[in-house]
């Protein structure tokens, strides 16, 4: 690791970005508490109700997992604009398979075994989609933006081809349990989200895989001299991103009991925003799961508060976009001061 440090302190601009992530996370935690207090003060009875927290716990994991997927792609200095396409394709493929398996009886009657198969197929679709992205990016050396912009369209197009346009509705009961069920009063999606967070946090901070991934983003040249197989690492990282996006798609279709080619289109910007807000550097090298998790919690609190105050959805779009720009501007100013 001494190699990394010398490289990072060199003239490479990205190198100066390596900072302690703890500081940002303390700030994010403070933002969370601030939003919580502010919303409670404005709408005490509605905001603090257990119903409100429960609905947030069902809604947040999809977005959180998508943001983590985006963070993984950003670690190597890339971006994945196809995550929404992958997510919908996973849900739709599973739904189509359920339709075939159940035939006339209707997919709603299917048991646990076909649903396990469906989850497997959905995740496989995601990993394969990620493999395609990774091969295009590392093999053909297409820039991640254009490669995933193109594949994202292909995936959404395939969703349209599979469904013909309308939504697939009526998933099997065990499938909808994934999105709406509870284990000991804790929502299943929240449990899955926590598992994903812990698993990826360990993967990124405690394994050589995670360190190598960050090194590629921090300093590509140093990572080459350190003997890291860049191409293979990038393919793995996009497969991971694709798998996570598929997981988010499974949760989305399970919660709404439907899958459609254009669900969750606004999640793309929000996933980028949450990843950047959570301390991920879009130029690569820096990002941590805890930061992304805190960012998604604070934004979910904020958006739930906006909805209670009956702010129009369009103005929420405005706030998201403005927030993204302010956050990157502040990060950039801080970076400038650090030099």
């Amino acid at each position: 690791m001494s190699d990394t440090k010398t490289a990072a302190s060199g003239p490479d601009v990205r190198g100066t970005l390596v900072r302690a992530s703890g500081n940002t996370n303390v700030q994010l935690g403070a933002i969370c508490i601030l939003v919580l207090v502010a919303m409670t003060a404005m709408r005490p009875t509605m905001f603090l109700s257990s119903y409100n927290f429960e609905s947030m716990a069902f809604f947040m994991p999809e977005l959180g997992i998508l943001a983590i997927a985006m963070m993984i792609a950003m670690l190597t200095g890339g971006i994945d604009l196809s995550i929404i396409g992958v997510a919908n394709l996973a849900g739709i493929t599973a739904g189509t398979v359920f339709g075939w398996v159940a035939g006339e009886a209707g997919a709603g009657s299917l048991g646990v075994a076909p649903v396990v198969l469906g989850v497997g197929i959905g995740l496989l679709v995601g990993v394969l989609a990620g493999l395609i992205n990774g091969l295009l990016i590392s093999g053909l050396r297409i820039t991640p933006i254009l490669a995933t912009l193109g594949t994202g369209q292909v995936f959404i197009g395939l969703c349209l081809v599979l469904t013909g346009g309308p939504a697939i509705v009526g998933f099997p009961d065990p499938w909808t349990w994934l999105g709406n069920g509870k284990i000991a009063a804790i929502p299943v999606p929240l449990i899955l989200f926590v598992i994903v967070c812990i698993g990826l946090s360990l993967l990124l901070s405690r394994t050589s895989f995670g360190l190598r991934l960050k090194l590629i983003g921090t300093n590509p040249k140093a990572s080459l001299f350190a003997g890291i197989e860049r191409g293979r690492m990038i393919v793995w990282s996009y497969m991971l991103t694709g798998g996570l996006a598929a997981m988010a798609g499974i949760l989305l279709s399970a919660r709404t009991n439907a899958a459609k080619s254009d669900y969750g289109a606004s999640y793309l910007l929000q996933a980028v925003l949450i990843a950047v807000l959570g301390g991920t550097n879009p130029a690569g090298g820096r990002g941590n799961v805890l930061g992304v998790a805190l960012a998604v919690i604070s934004l979910t609190l904020l958006s739930s508060g906006f909805q209670m105050m009956r702010v129009s959805n369009h103005l929420i779009d405005f706030v998201w976009g403005a927030f993204l720009i302010v956050v990157i501007a502040l990060n950039s100013l801080r970076r400038g001061r650090g030099k």
Partner: protein, 325 residues
């Protein structure tokens, strides 16, 4: 002369082969009415593509121009309806100005904070769409409310032909606007210092700065022109379809970026020409419009466009293949 650049010849060849192929599958392709409608479909996408070309030559990417086009179009048309103003020149000037001002915001943020253009423009797109829909309105301005002068302008034909059965069809005069804009951008890029600075900045921003280009001004030129073209094209679109829909142009960024990449521009910057872009736009529009002629189901359209984008960027990536790091 960059006019007959190698890449442009290759694109022209692809274009000719594609036209011959589509014509063989369905000879109806060669009917003048079809060709005229193809040219008409080129205008709006083409104008936007000229702006995206500038951004891509400078090494950036812009996904905010569809939002800017909506802003230019919807604010102006709603304003005309409210003020009961009927005219052509001032509305187009205002729409162009709105686009240019929004482009200035992009340029300012990207240059000042040295931020990745994709993320900045994702943000500004969301801000502008949110403001237009949340602040100005969500309802369409339909043909019965649309200012008459705009409709009359949009339906002007430069050439009118008669079918065998006596009905007539025409070639829209807007194609002249498009050609004029393409010529201006071409001359700016090839004959002026500011145009050359865009190539220099895209090839190597640091080197451009050291040889004395004012890179801030280059960025302002690039993003303002892109915004201005988008605002203008937005209003032109609404005057051609006699409708102003504040939710229009969703997902158009992909088509336009695909067209520019098809036309040989490189996302790494420093490469791209107006002629190539114009042909890229034509190829994209032609293939989109010809899917039905070739008997392919329209649900495949996005798969085809996405696939075309991937193939085009793969080819340009092979061409631009750089050292590993």
């Amino acid at each position: 002369m960059r006019l007959f650049h190698n890449a442009d010849v290759l694109i022209a060849l692809i274009l000719v082969v594609a036209m011959v192929f589509i014509g063989l599958v369905n000879p109806a392709f060669w009917q003048m009415a079809n060709l005229f409608s193809l040219l008409k479909a080129n205008v709006v996408i083409g104008l936007m593509a000229l702006g995206v070309l500038l951004v891509m030559i400078s090494g950036g990417i812009d996904v905010s121009f569809p939002a800017f086009a909506v802003a230019g179009m919807y604010i102006v048309v709603r304003g005309m309806v409210e003020l009961e103003y009927d005219g052509v020149v001032i509305p187009f000037l205002v729409a162009t100005l709105i686009g240019a001002l929004l482009g200035l915001v992009n340029a300012g943020i990207i240059h000042k904070f040295n931020m990745i253009p994709l993320i900045v423009t994702l943000g500004t797109a969301s801000v502008v769409r949110g403001l237009v829909l949340g602040g100005i309105g969500t309802s369409n301005v339909n043909i019965n409310q649309m200012p008459d002068a705009l409709i009359a302008f949009g339906r002007t034909d430069v050439l009118t032909l008669e079918r065998a059965n006596g009905t007539t069809f025409g070639l829209t005069a807007m194609i002249l606007v498009y050609i004029a804009a393409a010529l201006v951008i071409h001359l700016l890029l090839t004959r002026t210092m500011i145009g050359r600075s865009v190539y220099a900045y895209g090839a190597d921003a640091e080197a451009a700065k050291r040889v004395g280009f004012n890179t801030g001004r280059t960025m302002i030129f690039v993003y303002c022109t892109a915004g201005a073209l988008a605002g203008f094209a937005g209003l032109l679109h609404s005057s051609m379809i006699w409708l102003a829909n504040p939710r229009d142009f969703v997902g158009l960024e992909l088509d336009v970026i695909a067209a520019v990449v098809l036309g040989g521009a490189s996302i790494f910057g420093g490469r791209g020409s107006v002629l190539g872009t114009v042909m890229g736009v034509f190829i994209l529009v032609m293939i989109q419009n010809s899917l039905i002629l070739m008997g392919i189901d329209t649900t495949w359209q996005r798969v085809v466009v996405g696939g075309m984008l991937i193939v085009a960027v793969a080819i340009t990536a092979l061409r631009d293949r750089r050292a590993l790091v």
